[in-house]
Assembly symmetry: D2
Homo-oligomer: 156 residues x 4
């Protein structure tokens, strides 16, 4: 069996679980981490009434919040503490209350310290509503401190 | 007296008040619009526990939320409906719970349809924690529908 | 035959040829448009000695130049005059003199007036050296003025 | 006398001179470094015919090139080798051939490894034509290798 791939998928999920337990913000927004693999994450969120702006549609910052969360879980999936350095987002369509949004984060590049991840935010109907790009920066430390390393999960 | 300048400052405040009354998101984050002038806005927010990420510091998306709100009020200050097209943010320092953040949004450019606004987010101690740049896009319609136009406020 | 598809591929190439004839900058950089389809373009450039920065590697602005050119041809491929509003680029690897670079531009989104295109710049060996994202803005007019419209090319 | 300030101004100019001697690209574009201080640079360039795009105006990439050069000299002014990680540019006005452009680069933030610099590009008439923001990343090494350090220039 593809032990390494399974192992690292298992490990990535353990990192995500460790992070999520302390991620007050993601939990307060109702963001769920639906899928996680090394350098890849899918996050979901339902647009609540308290997320609407003065035009009555989802505030752009909540689209950013969902995308940024997916970016954080994808870029920290190997338990090497990784921060957002700079992010850019383009809003392509208005999103009504009640919409269920999905953000898919994928690695585009990862060097020794810096990385780039793209996040696409879509509605249930598949419309792209925001395109996010995150530039990451790796620092010392673990993303989910105290978690056993990938090798220890090889029995998955 | 500087009727025009006062008038437009008064008008900008009326637009902001009209927007804020419907801005569920800004109110749910506890964001206050502390100051408003044409193409200029100051917004404030206190970092709550439900805004912290897994590292125990303010989630980057909440810095974005504050900055984006200041951008929205600055760019809509003349009651011409103006949306964010794309935004970029660089995070320069971690922010602890309880910090009182100030975002100052200023116009850098405004053409016929597009504009650029810079927002600087600082703590009470003056440390810059995030630098945001918003590219705006003007659409048809009013920011605060039904509000009397600037000319009608000249008796301010 | 797939008249529309062929027709628009043919038409996109005609637009590109019309643009390229007047594109002093692209020609002075030695940029070639290697492939063109609706909302898709591939551009190539060899890194010359006069493109090196003080570190002796390709100046980032020349990576931008190649990517921006691919973006321009992709976003103008339907002969609707389209400008760059804002662009972002992340540099992921240094590029030596003599490298042959390829930029592939693809549409991520296109609305009534605004659009988003991603451009990936790679070396001959497949290494990603820059990731570019362009936010476009459509204005009145044609990209290659005077060109016959798509329907007139149906005999291709 | 303000030894430190003078010294570092003198030193920044020496770094710039050391860089410029090897900066083939900047010289090929006719970019001049008009002013240099720690974390601040002014660069100038005249728009030549070989810099025009298919619309007959200055190619956006040449505005980027000028801005990026100013950014490089400002961010390397203390002789600590500093690279562009990601950059964003917004184009605000078309620039005709023959225009003399000025780019002013200023530090907005500089941490242990990362920094942010803003560059404003204007014409002789003062119109803002492009707004550039550069996120820098410090690596090991000197910007102008072999240059004596700041302390050795204190007799300036």
């Amino acid at each position: 069996m593809g032990a390494n791939a399974n192992g690292s998928g298992h490990f990535a999920r353990a990192v995500a679980a460790g992070m999520y337990a302390h991620d007050n913000a993601a939990r307060s927004w109702g963001v769920e981490i639906a899928e996680i693999r090394p350098h890849y994450a899918v996050a979901r969120m339902t647009v609540r009434d308290d997320m609407l702006n003065s035009h009555g549609v989802c505030h752009g910052a909540m689209l950013f919040a969902l995308a940024d969360t997916a970016f954080a879980y994808a870029s920290n999936s190997e338990n090497r503490a990784t921060l957002a350095n700079s992010c850019t987002i383009t809003f392509t369509e208005a999103v009504p209350a009640g919409a269920v949004l999905t953000a898919v984060a994928e690695k585009r590049s990862r060097g020794r310290r810096t990385g780039v991840y793209d996040v696409t935010v879509t509605t249930g109907k598949g419309a792209v509503v925001a395109l996010f790009r995150g530039n990451s920066y790796e620092v010392r430390g673990e993303s989910a401190p105290g978690l056993a390393g990938p090798r220890d999960t090889s029995e998955d």
